[in-house]
């Protein structure tokens, strides 16, 4: 019944619209104004003028309302540069935006047929056209040069710190598997073959490699302030994308093709909270937690390449600690993936995981599942 009434109302609404339209047309025809647009142009000239003024005002309003809610300032060094580039570009395009939009709609108002009866026959002006080809070209050249300098700085392999902390992140539907090298700072090798990759060892870690013995799977990403990080990325099933919004880091995780991203965290989680405390919007109460928003602020890892039904659920927390001491404290609390063979087993042979160990490993390698996922 409700559906029927709604449908009837919609039909009625459109019928009325059509009737109004037709009535207008008939009255124009009767008064002999049929295809004369003088009057209509005049009205629409005012509308266009009103539109552009309101549009500009609304943009100012949107900036005031929405800018404070945006993802806060960059928490990495290279992010400062990409953000700066963003604002430099924004500066140039804002000028062009305002000038062209204002001209477009103002001309619409100023030269409408009701106001301006005779058009000015003017076909081209080579000088003008050269000017508005050359100026954009120069601005664009500047932007390209600035962009490329930043880009090559971010991806300059030679300038990287060889002692950077290395984290290995492997994505699968729909979770992140984060492997840390443990106390020794060295990863155990992985072997991609059917013997090593099993449901209990999805990454194919070679446990013959002693470096693997203290590797551990983490339920969050932990970085150290000012300590360069090299994230080594991979994917198991489909393409995912490793995205740290606060750090301006994004790189696809592609099955069969290793990728990586190198960056330096700038603020610890605590420092970021302290900064946000100074921002009015972050002091408002979050109705879900009942606390000011800055208090529950956290860095997060997200997936930005559509990877299937639960794409939206690939979340992981990211923490930046202040120094290596704090980091090592966390590392020591973690449980290695490797489970030492029992005393009866041959110590030189590869550790044979029994069923119980398999279970433990499987849970660890599988990472922690996001509970909200089906």
């Amino acid at each position: 019944m409700v559906a029927f009434v709604t449908f009837a109302l919609i039909v009625l609404f459109f019928t009325i619209l059509v009737l109004i339209g037709k009535a207008n047309e008939l009255s124009e025809d009767l008064s002999g104004r049929g295809m004369n647009y003088d009057n209509k142009s005049k009205w629409n000239g005012y509308f266009l003028l009103a539109f552009i003024i309101l549009f500009f005002i609304s943009i100012v309003y949107q900036v005031k309302l929405l800018a404070p809610i945006m993802i806060p300032k960059s928490a990495s060094y290279h992010g400062d540069e990409t953000d700066r580039l963003f604002y430099v570009t924004l500066f140039f395009i804002s000028i062009v935006f305002v000038l062209t939009q204002a001209a477009l709609f103002y001309f619409g108002y100023r030269y409408n047929q009701g106001k301006n009866k005779v058009a000015y026959f003017y076909t081209h002006n080579n000088k003008l056209e050269v000017i508005w080809t050359v100026i954009p070209s120069i601005v664009l050249a500047v932007l390209v040069v600035m962009g490329m300098r930043t880009w090559f700085k971010i991806f300059d392999v030679e300038a990287r710190d060889p002692n950077a902390m290395v984290v290995e992140v492997t994505a699968k539907q729909f979770q992140w598997m984060v492997r840390y090298p443990g106390v020794d700072g060295k990863f155990g090798k992985r072997i991609i073959d059917k013997e090593h990759i099993t449901p209990t060892n999805e990454l194919g870690i070679n446990f013959d490699d002693p470096n693997s013995h203290d590797d551990f799977m983490a339920d969050k990403l932990v970085f150290i302030k000012n300590k360069p990080v090299l994230v080594k990325l991979g994917a198991q099933d489909v393409i995912h994308s490793f995205y740290l919004p606060h750090f301006r880091v994004k790189m696809d995780c592609v099955p069969g093709i290793p990728t990586q991203f190198y960056f330096v965290p700038k603020y610890t989680t605590e420092e970021m909270r302290e900064y946000l405390k100074t921002q009015p919007w972050w002091n408002t109460i979050n109705p879900e937690t009942g606390e000011p928003r800055w208090k529950t602020f956290k860095y997060e890892l997200a997936c930005t390449e559509v990877c299937g039904r639960s794409h939206y659920g690939m979340q992981k927390e990211v923490v930046v600690v202040k120094d290596s001491a704090e980091y090592m404290e966390w590392v020591r609390k973690q449980t290695p993936i490797y489970v030492a063979p029992t005393a009866a087993a041959d110590s030189t042979a590869a550790p044979k995981a029994d069923d119980k160990d398999k279970k433990v490993m499987s849970e660890l390698v599988g990472g922690t599942k996001n509970k909200s996922l089906k």
Partner: protein, 614 residues
């Protein structure tokens, strides 16, 4: 529509013996099927494309309304959706799988079926023969095939909504491995749904290629006497180059999709390598998922110009006619179209900056991506130059053309951010991109299309669309279009294609905004229905075109006082377009307000002492 009577033998194209026509000797009645269904007449084919496009437009729009409901009110249920969508919306809540399917189909439908098939198919078909002075397309039969391939593609795609595992759901870009393995455990839409998507796309590509070859052949070979290339209206230039782009780029996608089906059906490994599913290493070895992205975007980027160039052509023409002023810088406009076409082949990898592409390669693509802004900027400045000191007839086509320019500026400028790879790291695959491409190629292209429909409706049907409804449609769409997409720029950093943001603290701040956007989207969708109602109502009841003269039983009118040849043909749409000889051309198409006359049509010889504009 009875006016579509046949007075010229159906097989006559190009050169027609005039005695023959006046003699009415070979008059042969077309059956209903020949006239309306398997018709080889460019005007009817144009209508077929347009009406199929409108169908898909409503469909694509409706999908966006549905997924906007999920995004705007992620915690609500809408019981009526269950009766409408069945198992895809159990308990009135759209499932996450169907959400992705809708997003995927929305993209596919609007990019290919509406803004390529519907836009290019309609206006290239209608205007190329009319404006260059040809009786019909170079091959009417292939032109007909082009529509019927499009129709079959539509049927296949539409059917895929009704199969058990649902339509393709791995994104309109169809990236493997998500779409590369026929495993519904990975993605439901990667089952039969994706095979149907691939079949539909293949048929669509055939349609696009047959259509495109025809357009190019027609423009190059069938121009009437005096119609040199530099006397062609910008619409024709745009359609021709659109067709060239399509011919050169669509085959890459076809190859890509065929190889993808090999992977899916024959277990080859073009795009797959070392896939691990549930801890089992699959047998695929040596392929590269990135290869598909190259093939896809080799079409995918020119594709956005395939969408926007016809709109640009239409807008150039409409702005000039309704400003009563020549297009500003005709030559620069032609050259910038050519420049866009060439550069558009060198920018595709800007969609792939964060795929692990070699950073050195990115530099090349940044350069060309920002370079393509130069011809685009020239066009914008020239459009504004065109309306400057004009006498603007602010009717719906003109307003939509101005709206196009506004949208093209707003959306185009943010391209300078996205095209610059370091900035793109943060913006890639976020709502900023959604805002950018929807404004610049979605809304803008629609504005171009609407400008074209309102403007050439009298050419299609001999009647006008209703102005009042047109104004309502325009203002709601302009304001609503900005209301939907402008605030999305502030959602920079929020990932696309998320079913809900509830799992993230970082992305959860914009709930009121997503709701606002959803409401705006619903309003704009309803405003498009005003257009649809206006369209079909006006076919039968619209105001008739004023008859300026009657000759040999044919009536002639020129509703917009335009110079181009389509208005020298009778209001009745006859097979062969002109009952007598095809008019010959003596001047460029933009003699508006020249020499103290409101306009001088292209077929009017130069007055003594008059110098032709070159």
């Amino acid at each position: 529509m009875s006016a579509e009577s046949t007075t010229i033998p159906a097989d006559v194209h190009g050169h027609v013996d005039t005695d023959h026509i006046h003699g009415h000797e070979h008059h042969h009645e077309q059956s209903w099927l020949e006239k309306y269904v398997f018709c080889q007449d460019h005007k009817t084919i144009a209508k077929q494309f347009l009406i199929t496009g409108i169908f898909w437009g409503i469909m694509g729009g409706m999908l966006s309304v549905l997924f906007r409901m999920q995004l705007g009110w992620p915690n609500e249920t809408f019981p009526f959706l269950e009766s409408f969508l069945g198992k895809w919306a159990e308990g009135g809540k759209i499932s996450n799988e169907f959400y992705l399917a809708m997003v995927t189909m929305h993209g596919t439908i609007l990019v290919f079926f509406v803004l390529t098939g519907g836009l290019s198919g309609t206006f290239a078909n209608l205007l190329i023969p009319y404006q260059i002075g040809a009786r019909d397309m170079a091959s009417g039969f292939i032109n007909m095939l082009s529509y019927w391939f499009f129709f079959s593609a539509s049927v296949v795609l539409f059917t895929s909504f009704f199969i058990q595992t649902g339509p393709a759901s791995g994104g309109w870009t169809a990236y493997p491995p998500l779409n590369g393995m026929r495993d519904i455990a990975i993605n439901k839409g990667s089952g039969l749904g994706f095979d149907m998507w691939a079949l539909a796309m293949s048929l669509f590509i055939v349609s696009s290629l047959t259509g495109g070859l025809n357009y190019v052949a027609t423009v190059l070979n069938l121009r009437t006497k005096g119609m040199s290339m530099m006397r062609m209206p910008l619409t024709v230039w745009a359609f021709m180059f659109t067709a060239v782009l399509g011919i050169l780029s669509f085959p890459a996608l076809l190859a890509g999709v065929v190889l993808l089906e090999f992977d899916r059906l024959l277990d080859t490994s073009f795009y797959l390598n070392n896939i691990v599913v549930n801890g089992h290493l699959l047998d695929y070895k040596g392929g590269s998922p990135i290869l598909f992205q190259h093939l896809f975007w080799f079409l995918g980027h020119p594709e956005v110009y395939i969408i926007i160039l016809p709109a640009m052509g239409i807008v150039s023409e409409v702005l000039s006619i309704h400003s009563r002023k020549p297009i500003f810088g005709y030559r620069a406009m032609v050259v910038s179209i050519m420049a866009i076409v060439i550069i558009s082949f060198l920018v595709w990898a800007h969609h792939m900056f964060v795929t692990g592409l070699n950073p050195n390669l990115a530099a090349v693509f940044v350069l060309f991506t920002l370079l393509i802004a130069v011809p685009s900027a020239i066009k914008v400045f020239n459009w504004i130059g065109t309306i400057w000191k004009g006498s603007l007839r602010l009717n719906p086509p003109m307003l939509f053309a101005m709206g196009f320019v506004s949208m093209f500026i707003s959306g185009g400028l943010t391209g300078l951010m996205l095209g610059n790879s370091p900035i793109d790291i943060q913006l890639h695959d976020t709502y900023f991109v959604v805002a950018h491409f929807h404004i610049v190629m979605g809304v803008a292209a629609f504005f171009g299309m609407f400008a074209g429909v309102y403007h050439w409706f009298p050419r299609f049907f001999g009647r006008f669309m209703n102005d009042t409804l047109g104004y309502i449609h325009f203002y709601i769409t302009l304001i609503g279009g900005y209301a939907i997409f402008f605030p999305m720029h502030f959602m920079t950093g929020l990932p696309r294609r998320y079913y809900t943001f509830a799992n993230f603290e970082t992305f959860n701040n914009f709930n009121f905004l997503t709701q606002f956007i959803s409401i705006a989207a619903i309003v704009v969708f309803l405003a498009q229905l005003v257009f649809v109602v206006n369209f079909f109502y006006s076919i039968f009841k619209g105001r008739k075109v004023d008859v300026l003269r009657t000759e040999d039983g044919y009536t002639y009118g020129n509703p917009w006082d335009a110079t181009t040849l389509e208005w020298t043909a009778p209001i009745e749409r006859i097979h062969g377009n002109w009952p007598g000889e095809i008019p010959s051309v003596h001047r460029w198409p933009y003699d508006y307000s020249a020499n103290g006359k409101p306009y001088t049509a292209q077929n009017v010889p130069l007055a003594p002492g008059e110098v032709e504009h070159k």
